[in-house]
């Protein structure tokens, strides 16, 4: 495993407010898409990737990838009998709700 360069900025810091280069933009691409940055950082990454022809395709692909991944939510549904088993157990533990 490689070690972290000592002068590498941490997630929360930035050298120049409002401006990031390609390397920094790509390091923060996922944080950007996951909305895990401050508004200021989000703006900086957005401005870069929207205007940089080298970084833009990475962003477009990452967005499509995440969208497809998120859509898997609908694919694994619990088996219908599970709910009844959970409810039975909860009733035995004192639950008396309507469901």
């Amino acid at each position: 495993m490689t070690s972290t360069p000592p002068n590498r900025p941490s997630i929360g810091s930035h050298s120049h407010a409002g401006e990031v280069n390609c390397t920094r933009a790509m390091q923060q691409l996922w944080d950007f898409l996951d909305r895990e940055l401050t508004d200021e950082q989000l703006g900086a990454v957005r401005r870069h990737v929207e205007s940089c022809s080298s970084c833009f395709p990475h962003k477009a692909w990452a967005e499509r990838f995440l969208e497809a991944l998120h859509s898997l939510r609908d694919e694994r549904l619990m088996p219908p009998e599970l709910k009844a088993r959970v409810m039975e157990q909860l009733r035995a533990a004192g639950y008396a709700g309507a469901q």
Binding site: H58, L77, L82, A96
Partner: protein, 209 residues
């Protein structure tokens, strides 16, 4: 307040139980499918996942008084689920140290650049990613899988995922990015196997000339 409020303490205890049950029904029960998905990601087995969901809801019901009204019920349930899972396995895993998230993120971008150059990206553009991702996610190893499921499928923040998994945010971040990288590797293989990549490369060569 009802006219019966002055009757007996037994009645008011029953009333508070009724409220508890109604709250539990309204706030906790609707997330059963989500808990099941997360449980499945941990156990990778339907029957174990079902047992884990039952255990999770039983624990959740018994410790309902510790739930902060108005806070994120899914996050709370996922945490219980994860803890129940760990206890059922009686294991404390010592995870290998990972490269940091920034390095993972950069590696992903560089990998995608290769995919742009060798035609894989174009091949991927033509296929439905979902079936390939379903398989890839099944095959993804822990600890990357939980991180991907929580953040990418279940919409949890890095902070929430860190709490649920009991690890620092930086660890969630690097696991998540590593997991995404492995998924994308599998997607690239899938596209290549499907025979699209070579055709796309041929077309690209023509159009580049």
């Amino acid at each position: 307040m009802t006219p019966e409020e002055s009757q007996s303490s037994a009645t008011s205890a029953a009333g508070s139980n009724q409220r508890r049950d109604a709250d539990f029904e309204r706030v906790a029960l609707p997330w059963m499918n989500d808990v099941y998905r997360f449980a499945y990601s941990l156990t990778r087995n339907e029957s174990d996942a079902q047992d884990l969901v039952q255990e999770t809801y039983l624990r959740a019901f018994r410790s309902w008084h510790t739930f902060q009204p108005g806070s994120d019920a899914r996050r709370w349930l996922f945490t219980i689920c994860r803890n129940a899972f760990l206890r059922s396995r009686e294991r404390t895993r010592h995870e290998v140290d990972l490269e940091d998230g920034d390095t993972e993120a950069l590696a992903l971008a560089m990998r995608h650049r290769d995919m742009l150059n060798d035609g894989t990206d174009r091949a991927l553009a033509q296929i439905d990613l979902r079936p390939a991702l379903t398989t890839a996610l099944e095959q993804l190893q822990e600890p990357f899988r939980s991180a991907v499921i929580l953040v990418d499928v279940e919409d949890q923040s890095y902070d929430a995922a860190a709490e649920i998994l009991g690890v620092p945010i930086g660890t969630v971040r690097s696991r998540l990015f590593r997991g995404r990288r492995q998924l994308q590797e599998r997607l690239a293989l899938y596209a290549r196997d499907a025979g699209f990549a070579s055709a796309a490369t041929a077309k690209e060569k023509q159009s580049d000339d």
